[in-house]
């Protein structure tokens, strides 16, 4: 059951990334390029995508308060930490640098594999390096925080 749900969720997510245009790195960069606002070259689409996804999720969280458990499984694995620590800030800075360099983040990179032959190798290299970066972080994590017990559920 978990596999079927994962397949449906991943597929709908991938379709959403495609239709929204977020699989196109230039579209991400055209949003991030705020210096283009005065000339009219700015593309605010990413804000619309983020805004609509966040709205759906906000309504879901409101409804979630009435539930004690998900449909399968016994509890919700929502991150509980609220502290702003150095790894959080440093990680966001580093991730932002990587995202801004190419206009590619993890989800769209994987979805884009099915959409382009010309740039297939570019995305494959991105994903390979992404995995390497993730593995490096996993290898250098000295102490394992309590929240890690629910591995896939981390934000």
């Amino acid at each position: 059951m978990m596999w079927l749900i994962s397949l449906i969720a991943g597929t709908v997510f991938g379709a959403g990334l495609t239709i929204s245009g977020m699989v196109n790195p230039q579209k991400i960069l055209n949003f991030l390029d705020v210096a283009a606002i005065p000339s009219g070259g700015w593309d605010p689409t990413l804000a619309v995508v983020m805004g609509s996804a966040v709205t759906v999720m906000a309504l879901t969280y409101l409804y979630l308060g009435r539930l004690t458990s998900p449909v399968i499984g016994t509890k919700f694995f929502l991150p509980t930490r609220r502290d702003i620590d150095t790894p959080l800030v440093a990680g966001a800075v580093i991730f932002g640098l990587g995202w801004g360099l190419a206009g590619v983040c993890p989800g769209p990179a994987i979805a884009a594999l099915a959409l382009t032959k010309v740039h297939l190798m570019d995305f494959a290299i991105f994903i390979g390096a992404l995995v390497f970066g993730i593995l490096l972080r996993m290898g250098t994590r000295s102490s394992i925080p309590a929240t890690i017990s629910s591995a896939g559920s981390k934000a």
């Binding site: 495609t18 790195p25 966040v54 759906v56 999720m57 959409l115």
Partner: protein, 140 residues
């Protein structure tokens, strides 16, 4: 704003939100792609295997759009070298896991529940990404 595509942005963004909502209500988990990748690379995590199925779904969904609604597939433009793609991937992967999340986990799943860590993270990575684009597009 000739590149602005609000309608497909709204449709696609809603689908992304519905996917994350469905996954949360069904399994109790948040849809953080880099987090799912990390646990896919960590075979000892409980209930292993679904992570790979989820990640396989991403290109499957993209392919289905291409098959049945090709007019909704955007042009994929990569205007950078493979070396920059590799560097960017490595940096993004390390940073996302150091900071416990990327655009999906902190942005789509964290912001709407007003998680302070996600608000801070999203604010920072958006700002740094915009600054990076300013440097690469306008300064060098």
């Amino acid at each position: 704003m000739e590149n602005f595509t609000p309608l497909t942005g709204l449709i696609g963004g809603t689908l992304i939100g519905l996917s994350a909502a469905f996954f949360l209500l069904m399994t109790g988990r948040v849809s953080g792609i880099s987090g799912i990748m990390e646990s896919a690379l960590e075979p000892k995590s409980s209930g292993y295997g679904w992570q790979w199925v989820y990640l396989l779904g991403l290109p499957l969904g993209a392919a289905l759009v291409g098959m049945f609604m090709p007019q909704f597939v955007p042009k994929i433009e990569v205007n950078t070298t493979w070396m920059v793609m590799g560097l960017a991937g490595f940096i993004a992967g390390y940073g996302a896991r150091l900071g416990n999340g990327c655009t999906s986990g902190h942005g789509i799943c964290g912001l709407p529940r007003l998680a302070p860590r996600s608000i801070v993270s999203t604010g920072i990575f958006m700002t740094v990404a915009a600054l990076t684009v300013f440097v690469t597009r306008h300064l060098i």
